[in-house]
Amino acid sequence: MSVYQFLYILAAFGFILGLKWMSSPATSRRGVLTAEAGMLVAIIGTLLRGDIVNYETIGIAVVLGAIIGAPIAIFMPMTGVPQRTAISQACGALASALIGTAEYYKLKPHGFTMGALIVETLLGFLTVTASVMAWGKLQEVLPGRPVMYKGQFFVNMATLSAAIVIGIMIVLNPERSELYPWFVVLALTFGVFLILPIGGADMPTVIALLNSYAGLSSCAMGFALNNKLLIIAGALDGSSGFILSVIMCRAMNRSFANVLFGGFGQVQSSAGGGKEGRPVRSASAEEAAQILETAGSVVIIPGYGMAVAQAQHKIRELADALTKKGVDVRFAIHPVAGRMPGHMNVLLAEADVSYDKLIEMEDINPEMPMTDVALIVGANDIVNPAAETDPGSPIAGMPILAAYKARTVMVIKRSMGVGFAGIDNDLYYRPNTIMLFGDAKAFTTSLIKELAAA
């Protein structure tokens, strides 16, 4: 066994161990370091292979990549993490797609290798455009609403099938390189089509899925290059992305196909109309502060609105102020709150909230009826009781945080506008609900002031 093979095994071991340590916050940083070390070992191992000669070019490329990559990581605000992941995914996928292309023109391999190559480039190219589209939607450069038109499903399928057919033709006869550009164009186009009908609320699932594609693409590259390390790392990535997207789907009670082809918020019919004039209770910061102060236990439920308003630090101050007054404050985290899996956890962690205060949905729901106040900050669909009561609702069956069971529900919200699912929220009209209208950050700030004054 040569040196680089040994190093490759070491690297793979590093990745696996790294992922294993990710399972707990206490060991997770060690996990990242291990995975980093694994990557370093992998690169060194590759450079030590006898057939590598172009050290200068490689060096320049690596330095250039690091120069671009590092600032992205350092200056990206925590609310921008989903976008960063999307764009970074596009880069990774681009790399593997380009490598596949280069291999193809260089080797024109036959049989199995060619098949793996086509899989690699197909997944690679479609992930590139899909990730860029996802980034655009997250960054709100593109409209976040699903773009739908008649026959969309058919067009999408036709594009994908055409790409696959051409791919197979190339596999059968690798010499026909005039087909290859068409294949690339079709794969890229399909990536765009794939994301068009997907709405903002489904982005967590999609990002996880694209992560999976990027991993599978690396995995296929491993088969094409006959490189075991690529296969292992790619498969790890592919399966983790896949599991995450399955978890996300389950959290919304929707099937995979539904997310990919659904176009959320378009099917609404039963909900909506005829609810205009219903009475809503609202309160000022002063009144709300009084209620919070006298409560024994408060559960804060953050949503994407908190991220948009950058209110996480103020929320933490509020929690601190209440804790000081003897109130038991905890945070309830819905699996799909925010724009990517675990988004809320990261934001609250950034704001220095101790992670043992972040409670998952299954654990907090049974305790909701014993909770005095559920304070909802910028969340909507994940607390909508319609998911449990109205079978005609587009979110019917989706597990929700049972905020409505709390003795008092307070909702900080800009207006009565609808959430991403585009449906009215019955919760706001309940007698035990108090609406606190205003920007999440501004309102929380005035709550803190009132508490301090009291």
Partner: protein, 87 residues
């Protein structure tokens, strides 16, 4: 296959608390494709096309790699228990 199974087992254990860092970590691991890029573009008899594509590939894979690892670490640094005020 073995790796996929292993991946399955490993990920299932990760608490939802850490899903975001987990994703950016696996995202960074995906940039293992840099290895493929190096192999391809580093060879003696590489054509210009291969070199150009390989060069771009290495750059973008490194962007992914560096930013992926760094931001994961940045996120995890924030996950800490606040002992005095807790419990």
């Amino acid at each position: 296959m073995l790796a996929a199974f292993l991946g399955f087992e490993l990920i299932r254990k990760v608490s939802p608390l850490l899903h975001t860092p987990l994703m950016s970590l696996t995202n960074a691991i995906a940039s293992i494709s840099v290895v493929g890029a190096i192999i391809l573009s580093g060879e003696k008899d590489a054509s210009t096309l291969t070199r150009v594509l390989g060069f771009i590939a290495i750059v973008s894979a490194t962007v992914n790699l560096v930013s992926g690892y760094m931001i994961t670490d940045r996120m995890l640094k924030m996950f800490k228990k606040r002992e005095p005020s807790g419990k």
